[in-house]
């Protein structure tokens, strides 16, 4: 008789998700699990602690122990597991189903998500953005502690964009598919949100403190740089994407140049206006 003990899985609020293990624990009492032990004297499971009431399948009793995992956390775990299968299956429900399988859940768990793989792509992008933020935070700490030199803005932006784009390399074959998913109308709010907060993060760590319209121009320019570089990367077949990084270097240099030129134009304009005012005063006297 196979031991009917369920692996230490967290209870799920979603009743639609089916488990491989058929036995359901309707009576979340420590004593019932003890009874199971008694019937299998040759099969001691020392790791099965008879802790407090296990949250039941249907949420009866309503108690939340530390074991309780929210639906959202479970979804995150499934999607993270699914990423491994993206190179093979693409950003699809199949990949999600495979991911669910590795966690010991039934493939029907993929039914929790949209069939077009939207959540998988958005989850991945969100994860990459978080990793980038952590990386930039680390770098900032190192500079503050004096362990590293503060990079000039141009190089900082280049390195940040490169670091973020490198996270796509394992999935580069299927990335065009992901981009088209991100552009679906119902995904645009979420994907735009992720893009803008990522760009804002990069500028924040680059030390941008503008409180005027520059705030917008800088972010718009960097967004343009990021998007075009991403597209170039899709078509790049050079070793370690060196063409892409060279493209990036040129675009960032252009952007910084544009900023300098704009400043120059402005100060020239101001000088001209002052000259005219002076001339007007002279003439009027």
């Amino acid at each position: 008789l196979r031991c009917q003990l369920s692996p230490p899985q967290r209870a799920l609020r979603t009743s639609a998700v089916l488990r491989r293990v058929s036995e359901e624990q309707k009576e979340p009492l420590a004593s019932s699990s003890q009874q199971q032990f008694d019937s299998h004297p040759t099969d001691p499971r020392p790791e099965q602690e008879p802790q407090g009431p296990r949250p039941s399948y249907t949420g009866q009793g309503g108690q939340e122990s530390e074991d309780y995992e929210s639906e959202e956390q479970l979804q995150h775990r499934i999607l993270t597991a699914a990423l491994e299968f993206v190179p093979e299956h693409g950003w699809t429900a199949e990949a999600i189903a495979e991911g669910a399988k590795t966690l010991g859940l039934s493939v029907a768990a993929a039914g929790m998500f949209h069939s077009d793989g939207s959540e998988l792509v958005l989850h991945f992008v969100s994860q990459c953005n978080t990793k980038l933020s952590e990386l930039l935070e680390q770098e900032q700490k190192q500079v503050q502690l004096g362990e590293a030199e503060k990079k000039p803005t141009e190089q900082f932006l280049r390195d940040a964009v490169e670091a973020r784009l490198r996270m796509l390399i394992p999935y580069i074959e299927k990335w065009p598919q992901a981009l088209s998913i991100l552009l679906l109308p119902h995904n645009i709010p979420a994907s735009l949100n992720l893009l803008t907060s990522m760009i804002d993060d990069i500028w924040h760590y680059a030390g941008d403190q503008s409180t005027d319209f520059n705030w917008y121009t800088r972010r718009a320019v960097l967004t343009g740089v990021y998007n075009t570089t991403e597209l170039v990367m899709m078509q790049d077949s050079s070793p370690d994407f060196e063409d892409t990084w060279r493209f990036l270097e040129n675009r960032v240099a252009d952007a910084v140049n544009m900023g300098n030129t704009a400043n120059q134009v402005q100060s020239t304009g101001e000088a001209v206006v002052q000259g005219l005012m002076g001339a007007a005063v002279t003439v009027s006297n």
Binding site: Q75, L122, S126, N129, H186, N187, D201, Q209, F213, Y216
Partner: protein, 145 residues
């Protein structure tokens, strides 16, 4: 928060625990725009009445506004709030209002100033009321007011 997707995606922005970020962002953005506009109004008035007898008074009030604007600039950076996209508009509109009211004479300029200050103080009072719902959380911001 994502649109139609059922997952809540974690934002990369650092969240300051417990505070109502959208509320703070709106407050700082609006107040910054207001102070910026006020600065431009005084600049417009100075352009017309700068060399008259009220010039020094206007300049003094303008300097006060510059301080306020500086304070909001600092808050904006600290809370990572974006400035209003209408800044170029307020730039021009404020200057025109200031210059226009100054062209009506000294009384016109003063009347404009009084009106602006009154509406600002009403506005700030309602913001203070909103923040006072939880004085502890918003201690820093309330001190600015």
């Amino acid at each position: 928060p994502a649109g139609g997707v059922s997952l809540r995606l974690c934002s990369t922005r650092v969240t300051l625990e417990g505070i109502n970020k959208p509320l703070i962002e709106r407050i700082i953005r609006v107040d910054h725009a207001g102070e910026y506009g006020a600065n431009r109004i005084y600049a417009g008035q100075m352009a017309v009445l700068g060399r008259s007898s009220v010039g020094p008074i206007i300049r003094q009030m303008w300097n006060q506004e510059k301080d306020h604007l500086k304070k909001f600039n600092e808050l904006m950076v600290a809370y990572r709030v974006r400035p209003t996209v209408l800044l170029p508009f307020w730039n021009v509109a404020g200057f025109v209002l200031g210059a226009g009211s100054a062209l009506l004479g000294k009384k016109g300029a003063m009347a404009c100033t009084v009106a602006v200050e009154e509406s600002i103080s009403d506005h700030y009072n309602s913001q203070i009321r909103a923040l006072m719902e939880d004085p502890e959380k918003y201690k820093d911001l309330l001190q600015v007011f």
